[in-house]
Symmetry: D2
């Protein structure tokens, strides 16, 4: 069964700014979706959703049938309805993977899952970025080298106010003098979260083959394992005394 991917995009910049429209004429979501499809083929089923659709395109049905969601937001984080954020949040806890891209570090859903403020330093100076791999055996780095280089990028810098990542995979170097933990993972409930800082609306970063490869790898890594044939883990519930206590003879005969 293919991984059911939903790429959520704010999709405003592309409609209002000519520079951005030239780079992403069909929206950032379609550029990313095509790149993932090209690499993963039948292993993925790609859909998208955008802010200005009803329920932001994230109806209960869409969310319930998504294995991996990608999130790209920037200027309109506050317009995302709390109810939808809660819906996505609940789905992550139940096992959906979530990839949080670039400026979505400041989205409601990311802050909700992190429990911190998620602030950082930034600067738009079209400077050089080098994304260094610090976890070279991780599946998300598959097929990639020691670093990825971008000629022009927006700087994101430390301190990035996130909880300690479960796994730190990439650290960015910026020409102007900063570093940034740009590839990080966490587990929340049964779901996984992958933050990847690369990408800005005014640079063609999602057209870069290495960046596309990281995203495709991330989709595979975020996909939940197939459904369990066993019972679910119980959630916040009282349990009776199990049959164990007191009724069990310790067998000493074997020794």
């Amino acid at each position: 069964m293919p991984i059911r991917v939903t790429i959520w995009n704010e999709f405003r910049h592309e409609k209002t700014n000519e520079t951005i429209r030239n780079i992403y004429p069909d929206g950032i979501h379609n550029t990313i979706g095509a790149a993932v499809k090209q690499r993963l083929g039948d292993a993925v089923d790609i859909n998208s959703a955008t802010l200005d659709e009803p329920e932001h395109g994230l109806t209960q049905d869409v969310v319930d049938h998504t294995d991996v969601m990608l999130w790209w937001g920037h200027a309109a984080h506050q317009e995302v309805a709390d109810e939808i954020v809660e819906r996505v949040y609940r789905r992550v806890l139940k096992g959906m993977g979530l990839m949080v891209l670039h400026s979505s570090h400041y989205s409601k859903i990311f802050k909700r899952l992190m429990g911190t403020d998620c602030g950082l330093l930034w600067r738009e100076a079209a400077e050089r970025e080098r994304i260094w791999c610090v976890n070279p055996g991780h599946p998300i780095t598959n097929g990639l080298g020691a670093y990825i280089e971008l000629d022009h990028s927006e700087m994101y810098g430390e301190h990035f106010d996130i909880p300690t990542p479960d796994e730190l995979i990439y650290i960015s170097w910026f020409e102007g003098g900063e570093v940034f933990r740009t590839g990080c993972t966490w587990t929340r409930g049964k779901g996984r979260v992958f933050y990847f800082g690369a990408g800005h609306e005014t640079f063609p970063i999602y057209h870069n083959a290495d960046i596309q490869q990281v995203i495709a790898n991330g989709v595979q890594w975020l996909a939940p394992a197939p459904a369990s044939p066993y019972r679910e883990n119980a959630a916040h519930a009282p349990v009776p005394l199990s049959p164990i206590a007191g009724d069990h003879e310790v067998d000493e005969s074997i020794h």
Copy 2:
């Protein structure tokens, strides 16, 4: 300068239930406070706050002048005002330590900081608990042995829906067949969080010398380092190109 400690207690059970009042006649907060004071003396300045006071006793001034807060809630989590939760949350990110005790795993403040549901299994059967140390060099275990034993305890069991702890210090064994990550730490912003599962209102667990020692150790470990003489770390802010970058060409044309 002493560590400024504020012990927050829901303080309802002690007023309405005779069994509980017999165990904690002045409230759980005063039992804990006396135990910490006895161990740390002039190194701490102990205060308390309770749910039914105005602003739950947690005015902006109280919160601003607290270095380490302890939290004990159980039946009235929903009565804690969101505004106060936000106040405490902001203070943790700025560096206050927070100790979350027992049933406060389901408090608003803990869930807010964790980004997960914080559910668990539980059972009241007055069964035996053994709290095993799995991080014996950690300061929170100072003066304590391989395990702490409680004759009668409420069972809390896995799966405990928390993010991966930065440090796992204690794991509980329960007679009825469960285990529980009962001593865990996390960092959130500049602040530290210590969850410690021991303690129930109907058992005299906060009178146990070992449990008191863990709590006193926790207060010391949670205390923020003295204020920095240097400038603050910047928070979510644009920054200019630093002097470093001043000697190379930055391409501004793209903007």
Copy 3:
């Protein structure tokens, strides 16, 4: 291309002890191998190696062509040649996955990779064990429930002297009063390590379907990602100034 699995077994107990031979007539390695093969089919190519073969069955060629190695040792850790340990160690750093089973916690290869003493408490009393999942979204837990129960098991208890696991997946409860971090992972170089405590030579634990499932899941999780089409990450080497630095002055006078 299938995952190339090599199951290494000390293979002494099965030849000298009738009880053990009755449980594992063809050796523990063959029981485990058949179980993995049954579950993963063509996705794995299973081989084995044993202590008393030349080079313990782990020639350079065998090691070089292994993607995932399983290790079961107990009474003869000291008979494993240091040269072979070093060979396996080097292969892990280059990306091979290693599953360390039960009493192999005290093997040379595990101690070498951990950097600690790897001691623990133990007791043979055929007591009940419950293996609780504390990371329910992890691929190693796929298809399994909240816990696995074994009627008769050897107790392994804390403090288990290992480095903090990168991921803690299973914690065992034992009838006699102990807990144990029985399912843990680490990364070493490009390779992954999974310690799984279940299994003892005098109990039919490797015939248990749940235990077999964990091991099969572990094999899949440990398998390295397909070979990179890009250049290798450099290892301990001096590097020239990159082209980036070419447009600024570097002060060489100090050398």
Copy 4:
């Protein structure tokens, strides 16, 4: 009782190279020792030991009475006797703190504790380094700002082949285009390890007040907690069945 600090220095460069002698006329160990003493005063008792002394100055008695050891080696790692390395290793597992400085990333003791190869990229080009704090609430960062800047430094770059740090505190940026996890901690047994990459023999880095502050903070953080009044944690030992199993009445009366 003061923290008993032993600063170990290879102490060869300072005797043979005039540039280095001019920077550290009494040896790197004395520069560091004076800086720590100036900051911590009576809270520390500072001693040193060097390679060319008998037993490298690290007799059993010296090691047994050291709370925190600092290690600086570079060109003569192979001359350190395995027996002494083992002695220091055993002491770390029992609770001694170890600070590993700069080129000591490739020392025998660090590799022994890490279980990896500890390789990295390097370049001597006297380039600018910025050491960014990514864990601003950590005691090791006390009194320090968002970053530390060094005008001339040796570059150390990723991939740094270490196990995932328990805590990542500092990441370095280098002018030539690299990043480096330069401030990392791990726990090994009851002991703590702090690697700090700053410092090179041909630059006056240990005269920098911020670097000195990090080292002094590190000494405090590495110091083991006072000796426990309780029994030791048992190490690799069989244990009898405890009194718990089967002989305990569950008290239902309280409910």
